[in-house]
């Protein structure tokens, strides 16, 4: 027995990320950790790696209770983590990164370090050059460096946090080969993934998390794909906004064969006036990337984006905004709002010329626009002068929406509109979205909250690894969505 976690709890402020995390890992075992976005997989692994401290539960390492206060505590006992975002020094060589922080003397004999690293790399037949600079490596190469680091520390448990999301198929195969080798050497491996189909061949044991709790743990061979999906989904439905669909008008936004390297391939979709189209998928499926491309942030290499049948030349968000497209981004604090500025300034930010005369802002007009939107969207604020950053999440979201309404946008891209806002505010955001749709806006909504998406969207498009894998109509189930989002070989399902 390598690792045993029982009843692990973790809270962030008022939010419970984990309420009952259980996990047992043996040496020489590849343990898959599965679950939907936000199920608590990463939180649990961060606790194992010493990046976070649990609020409750028991943590046993090799039969002994263990408490980690720093990542170094975990690595000292032989637990290493390959991070999604690589934690390497890009300007240093592969060899230096492998042994970083473990130099024995004041003088660093670089040739010796390179020789040691080369020996390690040779031993495992990794396609790496010990002297190469890390910033010249591909994502897979960087992961290999982290793996080398873990091996050289004599780790007996290696955690991969969704390592294949940034890798090509060939690179993924290479990483799997390495995982098998590590396993045959008696190392325990925990592998966080959504992409079970790829891992059937690698995994021995599966543990499924849902809503912060372990719901199932079994040998891989005992579980069918259907059973796994059932364990992963089935989140409790909280009472939400029941939406009466409107009769959709003509097509407003259409996308034809859009490709955005490196992820998105040949995406085609259309959104009609009055329609809310949901975009489902797992982390890394390319939903945010698609929104960014439609909004002119990322360049597409082929395909077309059309508004009202007219192809657009999108080179920047400026072009997109001029064409009536609005992005309500996932990262509200950073890309959605000027948090240090007032509600009024944020509201008028995208449409200053409308309240300006000869380039001079008419503050009375701007104020009028702001107070109108505060009333219309029921933004709860002390005054139009209040800093946007001091509003609650839901009200911040409304300010972002107001900014685009003021500009006269007709196509709204909502990227995770309910992230980090409370239940009451969620319902209000949905109300605003519904109102927009009724007034003829075309809405594309990305959400990882499947129950929400199923309730609010008129249709759901599902993405996986940069391609659209299917479309589902109203009345679709979470299982249907999850099958399209997580499983490569799943048959395509048509609209219900």
């Amino acid at each position: 027995m390598l690792l045993r976690l029982q009843g692990i709890e973790k809270r962030f402020g008022g939010l419970t990320a984990l309420r009952n995390g259980n996990l047992t890992v043996q040496s020489g075992e590849v343990h898959l950790l599965m679950g939907e976005n936000g199920a608590g997989k990463s939180t649990l692994m961060k606790i194992v790696a010493g990046l976070l401290q649990p609020d409750g539960g028991t943590f046993e390492w090799k039969g002994q209770p263990a408490v980690f206060t720093r990542p170094a505590d975990a690595s000292a006992l032989g637990i290493a983590m390959v991070h999604q975002e690589s934690l390497l020094a890009p300007h240093l060589s592969v060899a230096e990164n492998i042994f970083l922080g473990r130099e024995e003397s004041f003088w660093v004999k670089r040739r010796e370090v390179v020789a040691r690293a080369a020996k390690l790399i040779e031993e495992h037949r990794f396609p790496l050059n010990a002297e190469a600079r890390v910033d010249r490596l591909s994502p897979a190469g960087k992961q290999l460096v982290e793996i080398c680091r873990a091996i050289s520390q004599g780790s007996s448990l290696l955690i991969f946090d969704e390592p294949t999301s940034s890798l090509s198929d060939a690179e993924t195969a290479e990483v799997f080969k390495i995982v098998r080798t590590l396993k045959s050497r008696g190392m325990g491996v925990i592998y966080i993934t959504h992409r079970l189909d790829e891992l059937r061949s690698v995994g021995d044991q599966v543990t499924v998390l849902r809503d912060g709790a372990t719901v199932h743990s079994a040998p891989m061979a005992d579980l069918t794909t259907d059973q796994l999906i059932r364990h992963m989904v089935g989140r409790e439905l909280s009472a939400l906004y029941a939406r009466q669909p409107v009769e959709p008008g003509k097509v407003v936004l259409s996308i034809e064969q859009l490709s955005v390297p490196p992820l998105l391939k040949q995406i085609s979709l259309s959104v009609r006036a009055g329609e809310i189209v949901g975009l489902a998928g797992l982390v890394g499926a390319g939903r945010t990337e698609l929104c960014r491309a439609i909004f002119g942030v990322d360049r597409y290499t082929s395909g077309r984006i059309l508004i009202d049948g007219q192809p657009l030349r999108l080179r920047s968000p400026q072009d997109a905004a001029a064409a009536g497209i609005a992005l309500i981004p996932e990262d509200r604090q950073r890309t959605g709002l000027a948090t240090a500025r007032s509600i009024g300034e944020n509201t008028n930010l995208a449409s200053l010329e409308k309240v300006s005369r000869f380039g001079v802002v008419d503050h009375a007009a701007a104020h009028q626009v702001t107070t109108d939107f505060i009333a219309r969207l029921r933004i709860r604020a002390e005054s139009p002068q209040q800093r946007a950053g001091r509003l609650s999440g839901g009200n911040q979201q409304k300010v972002v929406i107001a900014k685009w309404l003021a500009r006269g946008a007709r196509v709204f891209l909502f990227d995770e509109p309910t992230r980090g806002i409370d239940v009451g505010a969620k319902a209000e955001v949905f109300e605003v979205m519904d109102e927009l749709a009724r007034q003829g806006a075309a809405i594309l909504m990305v959400s990882s909250e499947l129950p929400e998406l199923l309730q609010i969207a008129d249709r759901i498009l599902v993405m996986r690894a940069g391609v659209l894998t299917g479309e589902l109509g109203r009345g679709a189930t979470q299982e249907q969505v999850m099958r399209l989002a997580a499983f490569h070989d799943a048959p395509r399902e048509s609209a219900a």
């Binding site: 690595s75 020094a89 300007h91 970083l100 922080g101 670089r110 396609p127 190469a132 591909s138």
Partner: protein, 314 residues
């Protein structure tokens, strides 16, 4: 599957060095006064002060920091050292006092950035004023003149047919190079500047090494202050104004990145000498000092642009 991209030493990497050679040859042809012992010695003496400061700045910039206060530290170090000389201390002691005085402020800068977790740009902008103010208060705004004649050897003397400062510069350059490339401190400086999170998660004592780098930078600046004092034969409380920008420019022309993680001693030396030759050449060619400033400014932008282009391509 090809995981690795290994780039060789590209021609563009040699660009700063090639420009220096080009400048040197060009000036030798263009003006008869350039390639004379007197002129070259004077170029070396003029550049040595900036050069030695820039060596410390190289370490600081590699570690992801910046020190805007070096001009003030230079004056403080020079003043403290010459005051010790004025009191009758031997020259070696005076120079040591200058170095320690500089080191103290480097240490303080490092401590403020790491303890208060304030951006080093702001911290050293603050100490730029504080150190200058203290220097002026201590000296009452008056330069120190009463210095033994033999002190001038430090900045103006000759040894083995070349200016004595060239030897000091070489020793400092080799020391900083060895420190950066072959010791834990240097490699950690690169790691910290390259990705502070990675350094922290690798268990590196980030604060300790950051403070050390600033302290070494301060010590080198203190030494530069004594050389400056020796050349002027005064401890000048107003010395070194604007030198920080020249030191930073030398590092940046030499391929250092203000985002940290990059920079070399050789690059910095080349950077400082390119600026030195530009200014010397302009003097010899009779180009107005006003235009000189504009030329050097343009060269800084050009050098960094070329360097960025090179990096983007790899």
């Amino acid at each position: 599957m090809k995981l690795i991209f290994s780039g060789g030493l590209s021609l563009q990497r040699l660009l700063p060095f090639a420009s220096l050679i080009f400048l040197f040859v060009g000036l030798s042809i263009a003006t008869p006064n350039f390639l004379t012992e007197t002129n070259l010695s004077s170029v070396i003496r003029q550049t040595a002060v900036i050069n030695i400061m820039a060596l410390g700045m190289t370490m600081i910039i590699i570690a992801g920091g910046i020190d805007l206060s070096v001009g003030s530290i230079l004056a403080f170090g020079g003043l403290m050292g010459t005051m010790a000389l004025e009191k009758g201390q031997p020259i070696v002691v005076g120079v040591a006092v200058g170095i320690v005085a500089g080191m103290f402020w480097g240490f303080t800068n490092g401590l403020l950035t790491t303890r208060l977790k304030i951006n080093p740009f702001i911290v050293t902008l603050g100490t730029l004023g504080i150190v200058r103010g203290i220097t002026l208060i201590v000296s009452n705004g008056l330069p120190v003149h009463n210095i033994p004649q033999s002190f001038s050897y430090l900045g103006e003397g000759m040894l083995g047919g070349v200016p004595f400062v060239l030897w000091i510069l070489l020793v400092c350059a080799v020391a900083v190079h060895v420190l950066l490339e072959h010791t834990k401190l240097g490699r950690y400086a690169f790691a910290i500047g390259s990705n502070p999170d990675a350094a922290y998660y690798a268990g590196i004592p980030v604060a300790f090494h950051t403070v050390s780098v600033y302290a070494i930078g301060g010590a080198l600046t203190g030494l530069a202050g004594m050389i400056e004092a020796s050349r002027l034969m005064t401890g000048q409380p107003t010395a070194g104004q604007g030198y920080e920008l020249q030191a930073i420019a030398a590092v940046v022309i030499g391929g250092g990145s203000l985002r940290g993680g990059e920079g070399t001693v050789v690059g910095t030396l080349i950077g400082a000498f390119i600026m030195g030759l530009l200014s010397n050449g302009s003097d010899l060619l009779g180009i107005s000092p006003y235009l000189q400033q504009a030329i050097i400014g343009a060269v800084i932008i050009l050098a960094v642009t070329l360097d960025e282009l090179r990096k983007r391509r790899t």
